[in-house]
């Protein structure tokens, strides 16, 4: 403890006692603190006590003490969500029954549909189609102009609502390509592969391709069309364009023909509200591939 005889040195200029601390020849004066500063400290302590009583504070085993005001950040978020829901209820109702083909005329509603659709897309669709909607092998790219089942508003909304090749929705889009590995002879598949590459304007083996041509006519044209341009009624891809869902290299094509493909999309009509389905369709439509809407009737 401090020795009473150990008197603190005094600064000559000001006559103030110093703490005895010196830095680079600068002495620290022992000036008193303003008293209001002390009050401010007490005030913050009182405030702190009040805060602890009013708000969640002490951590207990499973949760913190709730506080008298019953505040929680989770409750706050829930309230925010409710208020946003409430605020958008009118527009959602309007969107649910809107004719998407004329949506563009209503600038305000269109903007709402596209931006809320973007949120729906990111939450529900991006897992397969990618956050930028560019898809992946087996998951269609939604930015291009190639559509398996149609790219106007109504077709997109239908696909979203009912999905593709799923068991849970009777109205799901459905088609099934046979696995030709069991149906064709040895050597016929390589010939078909070359012919399909010829159709797509890729580099190909001419002699194998000419052997593949009649095989295509016998086995494939029923769905893919005589010219290989596909059929949207059955979701049969156009083989003459530059886009491959499962790859256009020889290995991928061989695999596709031998084992077939069976891409599935769940029906979203059961999980999303009608307004959300409409919104996500409007969003996908304007990503770059939307096709002209055929007027109903």
């Amino acid at each position: 403890m401090s020795d009473p005889t150990d008197k603190k040195p005094v600064d000559e200029v000001t006559g103030t006692e110093t703490t005895g601390h010196v830095w680079d020849g600068i002495e620290e004066l022992n000036n008193p603190l303003p008293r209001w500063w002390l009050w401010a400290l007490y005030l913050t302590i009182i405030w702190g006590i009040g805060y602890v009583i009013a708000y969640p504070a002490w951590p207990m085993i499973s949760k913190a003490t709730p506080g008298l005001l019953g505040f929680s950040t989770r409750g706050e978020v829930a309230r925010d969500i409710d208020s946003f829901r409430e605020a958008s209820a009118a527009r959602d109702a309007q969107l649910a029954s809107a004719d998407l083909s004329t949506l563009a005329d209503d600038v305000e509603l269109n903007r709402y549909a596209v931006s809320s659709g973007a949120a729906v897309f990111r939450n529900n669709c991006s897992q397969c189609h990618g956050s930028g909607a560019a898809g992946a092998k087996g998951y269609p790219n939604l930015l291009d102009d190639d559509w398996l089942w149609g790219g106007d508003h109504a077709s997109i909304a239908y696909t979203v609502r009912h999905g593709i090749r799923n068991d849970s929705d009777e109205d799901a889009r459905y088609s099934e390509m046979p696995a030709f590995g069991e149906l064709l002879e040895d050597g016929e598949i390589p010939a078909l592969v070359e012919y399909v590459r010829q159709l797509a304007d890729e580099e190909y083996d001419a002699s194998l391709a000419s052997a593949g041509e009649p095989l295509f006519a016998d086995n494939c044209s029923a769905c893919h069309g005589d010219a290989g341009t596909g059929d949207r009624e059955q979701g049969a891809p156009n083989l003459t364009d530059a886009i491959w869902l499962y790859g256009g290299d020889r290995e991928s094509l061989t695999q596709t023909i031998t084992y077939s493909r069976f891409g599935v999309m769940p029906p979203w009509g059961t999980r999303l509200t009608e307004a959300q389905v409409q919104a996500v369709a409007a969003y996908v439509y304007q990503l770059g591939g939307g096709e002209a809407d055929t007027p109903s009737n």
Binding site: V13, E17, P34, R35, W37, A134, L143, D241, A242, G288
Partner: protein, 497 residues
């Protein structure tokens, strides 16, 4: 038995600054009138900008995220103007501090200006220093209550007006004024007013010098920027000391001298052995910080210069030259007897204090930034675009094998009318441009708005750009009604080999 240790805490010593008149006091009244006038009245100045824009001259429109300053309109993406102004304000403070010390504190700091105003009210209600002292010591009788309450009510009125003026800068003032009175204004308006009313009332009425001494960081920063050549308020010790009671007989002799040249080296007989300071305490009594400038430079001093006025007044009365307390540089008045001024009684001219490499450098930097901002202001146009390429994915292959890039283009129409914007592109390679949602290359951008437009740029399968990693291009936008054009450079990504 040791002395009782000094208390850890000190109560505020009440200060009752005496009224003073003189050059600096008048100057400060003018500055107070000017600064407060600007603060209270500026939101009410109207400025016609056409039908779709607010007609308030100075408005920080938080709702629409615009800042209006007379003919200048700043959009959020032009925030660099605000950054530039803040840098200029900072450099300006450096400049003034290195040349003139704490002039900011002494003349223009809101703390000083409002405290000055509150002191004025105090003197008006309670009387000058002596009356205030008496009232302070007296019991809480009717008169004391009456005077105190009157003073507080006036202070409160000023405080409410102060808090009230602040919120008018953020929305249309006349509308808000009506809403405030009819209790229809947003809660945040009332809260802002309440907080600013409280701070004005407390800081101006009761905290005063405590704010400057204990709360404000600026004096500590200023102390680091001053040097011995900086002009500051100081006491000419070589001239004042030894201080003492004024000797009657000296006056006539001194007055005769003062009429010609006051030669400190050869003082008249009567004056020798005593300094000019007559220890009248005038400088101490007027000081709003409650200090004695004769003790030398102190951290409390805000250089308000009121002690100069007080002392000059005394010097006039006793027939000595002014400037015992004066604006001076510490290097010119070292402790007696070495003071270089002493021999000649010639203070260095002001410009020598002000023209220093540091102040010149600050001025140069300040002007460069200012000129840059003015330049930036003049090259702004009514239309603007920013192009952000969509990089997820970098390109999209179309069914015909062509390669498409997508760009989010923000089109800004800063004019007051709806405008038709036409888009085009230039590039050394063959590229085509298209817009989402329309077959044409024009879109209408509503007045005073930003429109987000998806833009497609396509290279056909055989075009070089389709298989080149990066191709430079420039997207142009033209306002068809005024033929103004502007452009932004960007990159086209082809299919990697």
């Amino acid at each position: 038995m040791a002395d009782t240790p000094p208390s850890l805490y000190a109560a505020r010593e009440p200060i009752f600054p005496r009224r003073v008149t003189g050059f600096f006091r008048s100057f400060k009244w003018w500055i107070m009138g000017l600064t407060l006038g600007i603060y209270y009245l500026l939101p009410w100045v109207r400025w016609d900008r056409g039908p779709n824009l607010p007609n308030q001259a100075v408005l920080s429109d938080l709702e629409h995220r615009r800042f209006f300053f007379f003919w200048i309109e700043i959009w959020p993406h032009e925030f660099y103007f605000v950054a530039g102004l803040l840098i200029m304000a900072g450099l300006g403070l450096f400049l003034f501090t290195s040349a003139l010390g704490r002039v900011w504190c002494g003349y223009t700091c809101p703390q000083t200006v409002w405290t000055d105003l509150f002191l004025l009210v105090e003197r008006w209600v309670e009387g000058d220093r002596n009356a205030q002292l008496r009232l302070h010591k007296s019991k809480w009788n009717f008169k004391k209550w009456r005077l105190r309450l009157t003073k507080w009510v006036v202070w409160l009125a000023i405080s409410v007006a102060t808090g009230g003026a602040w919120v008018f800068y953020f929305t249309d003032a006349p509308t808000l004024a009506v809403n405030l009175v009819t209790l229809n204004a947003p809660a945040v308006a009332y809260m802002s007013i309440a907080v600013l009313t409280a701070t004005t009332f407390i800081f101006g009425g009761f905290m005063r010098e405590q704010v400057c001494i204990y709360m404000c960081p600026w004096p500590r920063i200023q102390a680091a920027m001053m040097d011995e050549g900086t002009l500051t308020v100081g006491y000419r010790k070589w001239r004042g000391e030894p201080r003492g009671k004024h000797k009657k007989g000296a006056k006539a002799a001194a007055a005769a001298q003062a009429a010609t040249v006051y030669d400190f080296a050869n003082l008249p007989e009567a004056d020798q052995g005593s300094g000019d300071c007559i220890d009248c305490m005038a400088c101490v009594n007027v000081c709003p910080m409650g200090i004695d400038i004769r003790d030398g430079q102190q951290m409390e001093c805000i250089t308000c210069a009121l002690c100069i006025d007080a002392c000059d007044d005394i010097m006039d009365k006793i027939g000595k030259p002014r400037g015992l307390i004066d604006y001076l540089a510490l290097e010119d008045v070292p402790p007696p007897p070495e003071s270089p001024e002493r021999a000649t009684w010639k203070p260095r001219p002001i410009w020598q204090h002000i023209l220093k490499p540091r102040t010149i450098l600050y001025t140069a930097l300040w002007s460069i930034i200012g000129a840059g901002l003015v330049f930036a202001l003049f090259i702004r146009s009514d239309i603007e675009l920013t192009v952000s390429p969509v990089r997820n994915p970098t390109y999209v292959m179309q069914s015909d094998g062509s390669i498409r890039n997508i760009y989010d283009v923000r089109l800004r129409n800063k004019s007051g009318d709806d405008r038709l914007f036409h888009l085009s592109l230039t590039s050394e390679e063959t590229l085509r441009i298209g817009l989402e949602g329309t077959e044409t290359l024009s879109v209408e951008v509503p007045a005073n708005q930003t429109l987000l437009q998806r833009v497609y740029v396509t290279a056909r399968r055989k075009d070089a750009a389709a298989s080149t990693d990066r191709t430079d291009l420039r997207i142009w936008v033209e306002d068809l009604s005024t033929q103004t054009r502007t452009s932004a450079a960007t990159i086209f990504n082809g299919k990697e080999k």
